[in-house]
Symmetry: C2
Amino acid sequence: MLLDDRKRLILKAVVDDYIATSEPIGSKSIVKNHDINLSSATVRNIMADLEKGGYLIQPHTSAGRVPSDKGYRAYVDSLMDLPPLTEKKKAEIESSFDPNLIDIQPLLKRAVDILSETTGYTALAVAPYTPTTHLTQLKILMIEPGRALIVVVLSGGLVKNRLARVPDVLTLEQLMLIANLVEQNVAGTKLEDITFVTIETSVQGIELPESLLNQVLYEAYVSIKQAENLETYVGGITNLFRHQDFRDVGQTGAVANLLSKDGGMIIGYMNKEEDNQASLEAGEDLGSDDEVTDDVASEESASPVPIARVYPNYFMIRIGQEIAIEPLEDCSFVTTTCETKDRTLGHISVVGPKRMDYNNVISHIGFVRRTVHKHLAADEE
Amino acid sequence: MLLDDRKRLILKAVVDDYIATSEPIGSKSIVKNHDINLSSATVRNIMADLEKGGYLIQPHTSAGRVPSDKGYRAYVDSLMDLPPLTEKKKAEIESSFDPNLIDIQPLLKRAVDILSETTGYTALAVAPYTPTTHLTQLKILMIEPGRALIVVVLSGGLVKNRLARVPDVLTLEQLMLIANLVEQNVAGTKLEDITFVTIETSVQGIELPESLLNQVLYEAYVSIKQAENLETYVGGITNLFRHQDFRDVGQTGAVANLLSKDGGMIIGYMNKEEDNQASLEAGEDLGSDDEVTDDVASEESASPVPIARVYPNYFMIRIGQEIAIEPLEDCSFVTTTCETKDRTLGHISVVGPKRMDYNNVISHIGFVRRTVHKHLAADEE
DNA sequence: TTTAGCACTCGGAAGATAAGAGTGCTAATT
DNA sequence: AATTAGCACTCTTATCTTCCGAGTGCTAAA
């Protein structure tokens, strides 16, 4: 079923109003609030059609209508307004990033805090572990006798460090020597291919008692292995509880736990899937222009209701069932990807109820992405 | 008003039952559930007395009673059972700490996760910034040309690091030279006394263009200043919403925000105040025996209801109004301090409704404290 | 094709009623 | 003098009814 202009108009009105009020929308309230040149009876007919088409759902016979997942899909794909962020808002976001910040991890952390605060939803970010990630550096610093900081630098500039116990008798020079040898041997090796044996063989011939040496090597090994664990950042998790859609505290608590614990994995997984499906729901890639919102908003002036909107492929929206994780079927994800030319650095998502303010979320997340990119690339200008 | 044995018994029963059921407790239900050799009428009289004494509150005329802050205070100070954790539980907690973990920061992070999970409340931790904190080391590692990791080591072994932009043309050797000079000059200086000028004067006479040098020095300065920001860890914030006492989602959201944002500060503040007041509510220090629970539990066998319990001074309980922060007046804090002989390393708190299961919380937090200490001190054994 | 009109549906708010748990007081009991 | 049984009274909460109104689908007229 293709939607003609009138149906699109009505569908847009329903979704807009439902997002605003969270009450089922009836035909009368639509003609009242949208100065549409039709009678409520006509609107009623159109709405009945939209329901047959699967875009709307009637919670019970004598109630108004509510968008279905398909309805939301159509809305985000082609119906909604997408006004750019005001300059004031942009400045606000920009100014809440410390200009000295260039590390992807704190940047993502900041991003989720800002997004959750400005959108009022929950934000997640994760620096994805890619199978090609390899080690580039392994350094040791002595903090105090017996304690050393082991620094693992991964391809892509990801830095992880860990405080470890080392034998008291070893000097910084000895530790650095060991680290150097190990680094020379394993640098360039994919993380998952590094074993304790790999590390052990790096230091053959060194003049140290085996037990001491092994202690250090083991700590190095643990540090490297631990670098595989990608950190997930969550912001505004309690915002989940603010929305009427999540009245059931128990259910919402389950969602909160799921997101806190596995949020990173979920986003990572969704994005991997996305690669396979090649932007299934978004159609063709638009090219990599950096400004979603301004871009797409311009299309809108052509027609009262835009015909089709194509998001750049670093952008993804998943609605309800599309997420394919049962406890999240009342949620939507808006996800974007931070990347350099050849490497994915992180995914940022905003999670909210299906009736979230997509509008606002998309503009914000798009701009936050831009800002993060600016920080990452500042020295390349 | 001094409480005789019978009053104490009844008060204990009321608090126990109220904690268990969260319903106001009536005289009948007490005689039913506690095989007390009294009639409900007698109990009623006693309860009326307790109410006059300010230990109990009647929500409305024809309802049972609920403990007041004073009632809870008496309960935690002398009435409640304090059975030690089962060995199984202990083992469980111990095993959920990575044995290789020796860094206070990840340890605190782990601690709040475990505590929030096992108690079902919210946990907070903070590594307190003490005015005597000084810098002991400043190191630089080159991550890639133009990017360096600046490591700041503070007294007490706290390690902070930060990725910074540095001029591409500088070599690792040059950077390390700068760091060494700065370190030599500012090591031992209290953090708050370090200024940019202090740093600048450290490197006089070095053979480098001023603009390059200043860039590096500035980044070092920022890194040092940033080390002052003590990180706060929060676990199980959504548990707040699970308790009937926090029905009002708006109110609870406000509490959640407050804790997430300022939780560390609040705990830090409470503990500072505590020092001044010298354990006001807990009386004299018991000495620093490490096991609260077993310790205090043993007293109990003497009398059906213990007379007075004294917590060691690394232990603090704040109930309702005692917290003196308005939005938190329906909460209680149970806080403990991790410390070495001469230094406070962190505070850990569990926050819940006033009718939290103090029992369980105290045993858990006490044991978690012990476990953290064990990890911190493992090499001193 | 659109719209006015109408009978019908159903959820939710408002009010009424009943049940139950609790209280305080008094008088009897120990 | 302390304890307890008994009783009248209070007040919340759950349940049931009633009723309003927004919304619907259908039919017939414009």
